[in-house]
């Protein structure tokens, strides 16, 4: 028994001289996996139109009831997204969100995507609510900002044949 005890001591003493496995976090960041589910991003098409059509399926799918969507009508003079409606309000409460990714699965237009950013911290509850401005991706170089004025009849379908930004 004594030999086993000493062997244990020897093992722990030896492990003292191994290089530590710690990442010095704020300075050194461990890369996340490709499919890591961090904070959400709202996507746009290549021409700048928002993918989100305000259908609220993400809010329905959300088990934590973290998403709030309010939709309004698109017109050809003020077009945010293809189809009839767009999300005029899109809020995610990051204190409620459990990062399960069901919103991503439910989305018919692949508008909401969970990204790689996990550094979400706030000093009060109000800051935990991420609004549409914070969530939406910037317009790509080829696109125009929303709302845009378009020709009538060009974007009538909610799921158009359009290219994603590269």
């Amino acid at each position: 028994m004594l030999a086993a005890l000493l062997k244990g001591l020897w093992t722990t003493l030896r492990s003292m001289f191994e290089p530590p496995v710690t990442y010095q976090y704020p300075e050194v960041k461990r890369p996340v996996r490709d499919r890591y589910k961090g904070r959400h991003y709202l996507q746009r098409y290549d021409n700048g139109l928002e993918k989100c059509i305000g259908c609220s399926l993400c809010a329905v799918a959300c088990p934590a009831d973290a998403i709030f969507v309010e939709s309004s009508e698109n017109t050809d003079e003020n077009r945010y997204s293809p189809g009839e409606r767009y999300a005029s309000t899109y809020e995610i409460n990051m204190l409620r969100c459990i990062f399960c990714g069901y919103c991503e699965d439910a989305c018919p237009t692949e508008a909401i995507v969970l990204g790689h950013n996990y550094e979400l911290s706030f000093t009060n509850r109000r800051d935990a609510i991420y609004t549409k401005d914070m969530l939406i991706n910037p317009v790509s170089i080829a696109g125009q900002p929303t709302p845009m004025k378009v020709e009538a009849g060009q974007f009538d379908r909610a799921i158009p044949e359009m290219e994603d930004p590269k």
Partner: protein
């Protein structure tokens, strides 16, 4: 009374309190760093250079915590218990010589608060067991079943291992033919008692770890079964006092081990440069403390019935046998 003596005592008390308090603070950091290295981590290194301000940050945090006293607790005893636990840890160091006598400006000073107490070892043994009262009272007054169980366990454990501790003390006493710690240290000037009393040293090490409730004998605060044992209900500074007592006792026990078995302040050139004495002692104490932390990082907690069996059925007979053999040899050889 000689006013210079009064000043001397005050200064020495200040030094001892300072030694225990900073020792306690930095022992927590030392423990966390060593444990981290053993577990292939880095440990606290953010507060100040090398994390040296971490104990300060911890202390400030604990000071600002809310003090919760349970409604059904026995309030007087509840507040008294941490004080009772922490005081023995402080006063124990009084009789331990930190170095040989030094003379400054024609006056000679002994480097211990109480000077050369002729029953120093007895004092250590007596005071060391007082702190069990604090723990038992804390467990009882909290009015919590986990706390009570922790307190009772600690009482049983302390009584069982106090005997072994006492028996381990007797070896050096027999060899030095004195109960004064100064004589015991001086008797080791040729060879340390760890060489003459290897079994006594091992017994002392085991019993003292049990006495300060450290792993693998941390039954009174076994996290998995008793959540935190006797200090479940304590918070804020009162909790910090229990912490202080545990670490203070660790330090003091290391001082005692170093004095009894590792030659105390003795080392090369101490007779020429007396101030080297405290440095040697500190190095030895640090090594013993490292050993305690190392043991904590390695061995799992011993089961309660086995703890009792080990104390009464293994350590006690070995201790008695050790004393008999030592006594016979001392008589045969005609004194060490």
């Amino acid at each position: 009374m000689d006013p210079a003596l009064l000043v001397e005592w005050l200064v020495k008390s200040g030094v001892i309190i300072f030694l225990i308090l900073t020792g306690f603070a930095y022992l927590t950091l030392f423990e966390r760093r060593v444990l981290a290295r053993i577990q292939v981590r880095i440990g606290p290194n953010r507060a100040g250079p090398l994390g040296l301000l971490q104990p300060l940050a911890d202390g400030i945090k604990l000071l600002f915590k809310e003090e919760v006293i349970p409604d059904k607790a026995d309030k007087v005893i509840f507040i008294l218990a941490p004080v009772l636990t922490v005081i023995p840890a402080f006063v124990l160091l009084a009789v331990i010589p930190l170095g040989p006598e030094i003379s400054i400006l024609g006056r000679s000073y002994s480097l211990s608060l109480a000077g050369d107490v002729n029953v120093g070892v007895l004092y250590l043994l007596a005071v060391a067991s007082i702190s069990v009262y604090g723990i038992v009272l804390a467990g009882w007054s909290s009015n919590n079943k986990y706390a009570l169980l922790g307190g009772l366990r600690s009482a049983a454990q302390m009584i069982s291992y106090e005997l072994v501790l006492g028996l381990a003390f007797i070896g050096p006493i027999l060899l030095a033919n004195s109960m004064s710690l100064k004589d015991i240290i001086q008797a080791q000037s040729r060879v340390w008692f760890i060489v003459l009393q290897p079994i006594g040293f091992l017994l002392f090490l085991v019993a003292s770890i049990a006495e300060v409730n450290r792993a693998p004998f941390d039954m009174p605060e076994a996290e998995q079964e008793l959540t935190a044992g006797y200090h479940v209900e304590y918070s804020g500074m009162k909790f910090a006092l229990f912490f202080m007592a545990e670490y203070g006792k660790m330090i003091v026990v290391s001082f005692i081990t170093a004095s009894l078995f590792l030659g105390g302040y003795l080392g090369p050139f101490v007779d020429k440069l007396p101030l080297l004495g405290p440095i040697y002692l500190l190095v030895k104490v640090t090594l013993i403390l490292f050993f305690m932390i190392w043991v904590r990082a390695t061995w799992p907690r011993i089961r309660y019935d086995r703890l009792m069996a080990l104390g009464w059925k293994v350590l006690l007979p070995i201790g008695l046998l050790n004393i008999i053999i030592t006594a016979i040899l001392v008589i045969l050889v005609g004194g060490y």
